[in-house]
């Protein structure tokens, strides 16, 4: 019986030591990163490191709470031998942190009570708690609980509202209409859907957009504008001047128009 318990203790100690070593390594590498790579360190990778540490601490907590783990609290450690001399084995074991196992440091390392300052604070707090009566304490507890629950409610509700809203936006409410897009593009490109202010014809030059539509000449909407990219060269393309009068070739837009502008259509020449 005794032996089995001892074995269990050994095993759980062993695993605890290895977990603590993991935490130590993770902390070590994180500190190294913070010191040497702080210029390139990104926030997500810092968070990753924190997540790793918190995960490892969690495992240790779980290990300590495990039923199979014997209660370490019931184990007593007694210093059997104190010596003011330097102990090389100890130095090696503690990574040069503790060179001697002497009267001076043992009370610190094997301490089971909190630090004196912490002890002092705890004393003050218990005195405070004893001072106020149980009724007042109860009232304060209730007030705090009320505050917390109302705060929680406030935090939770808007999130529901927001989720509902964005879900509605995503599913039911389209923010654009492709038909409208086409109509608007048609309108800016050719005046599609816009009231036509047709040219009053050559007989009545002057104010734009006045007078009834007399000629049935092609308006912008009725003419077919070629889509071939070859015509693009019209105004700016670094191409040779348009070929004149080649059979079978559409003359470029610009040439035709400039010609017509200096030709019979031109009001000056009439």
């Amino acid at each position: 019986m005794q032996q089995r318990e001892e074995k269990q203790l050994d095993a759980s100690l062993e695993s605890l030591i290895s977990r603590v070593a993991h935490v130590k390594n993770a902390l070590h590498s994180f500190i190294c990163k913070l010191e040497s790579e702080y210029e390139r360190l990104t926030w997500p990778s810092v968070l990753d490191n924190f997540a790793l540490l918190s995960g490892q601490l969690n495992t240790i907590n779980k290990l300590l709470k495990n039923e199979k783990t014997p209660s370490f609290r019931n184990q007593v450690i007694i210093p059997l031998l104190l010596s003011p001399d330097r102990d090389e084995d100890l130095v090696k074991l503690t990574e040069q942190r503790v060179p001697v196992f002497s009267h001076e440091i043992v009370p610190d390392y094997l301490r089971t009570k909190p630090d004196p300052e912490v002890e002092e604070q705890e004393k003050q707090l218990s005195a405070e708690a004893a001072r106020i009566g149980p009724d007042v304490a109860q009232k304060q507890i209730q007030a705090l609980n009320k505050q917390c629950s109302s705060l929680l409610e406030k935090l939770n509700n808007p999130r529901e509202d927001r989720d509902a809203e964005s879900a509605a936006m995503r599913q039911n409410k389209p923010s654009f209409n492709p038909a409208d897009t086409n109509a608007l593009v048609g309108a800016v490109a050719f005046g599609k859907g816009l009231s036509k202010c047709r040219p009053p014809g050559p007989a009545a030059p002057g104010h734009p957009g006045q007078g009834p539509m007399m000629s049935s000449g092609p308006t912008l909407q009725q003419v077919t504008i070629g889509v071939s990219s070859g015509q693009q060269a019209g105004m700016g393309g670094p191409v040779a001047p348009p070929q004149q009068g080649q059979p079978g070739k559409m003359p470029s837009t610009i040439k035709t128009n400039i010609k017509s502008a200096s030709g019979s259509m031109h009001p000056y020449n009439r």
Partner: protein, 209 residues
Amino acid sequence: MEAPPVTVMPVTGGTINMMEYLLQGSVLDQALESLLHRLRGLCDNMEPETFTDHELVYLLKGQQGNPFILRARRSLSHPTAPWHLRYLGQPEVGDKSRHALVRNCVDVAASHSLPEFLNEMGFRMDHEFVANGHIFRKGAMKIVVSKLSRILVPGNTENTERLSLSYLVELSVLAPAGQDTVSEDMRNFAEQLKPLVQLEKIDPSKQRH
């Protein structure tokens, strides 16, 4: 064969030989605020800019072929500002590797006598409309969100009727010919406006009918 008249030569060099890269879309009136909010976040930090413009589209018809089109624009909110004359070439849709519509573009500032001048030149107004809305910039990119209205009585910009229940959204960049990399930036920007607005290269010749 004699040399062609100077005016027939393609305009090259300088700032004149610019191409406009364009993506278009629209947003419903009720989603406008969300879009403006997002644009304020995405675009360069600047004073919110609004405009109200009157655009007149002029045609010069030849005996054959296509009419020559010029667009004259004036600001209704700043009546003393110069007029703006613009020539737009045929839009090129291009292949899948280019993410925006590309068209030749010449912009000129003009005096207030522009309509009379165009008339004397033989141009005739084809149609007009009023556009009002918001302008945003991000680097070289320009984002215009505008409401289009038709003019009920010709020449009277007070009496208008909105064209649709949506705002036109245009993302454009002016760049020298051949700089297709700008379309990459535009595509990335357009991605960030999804699903609020779907900015696409829309071949206008398909919207004709």
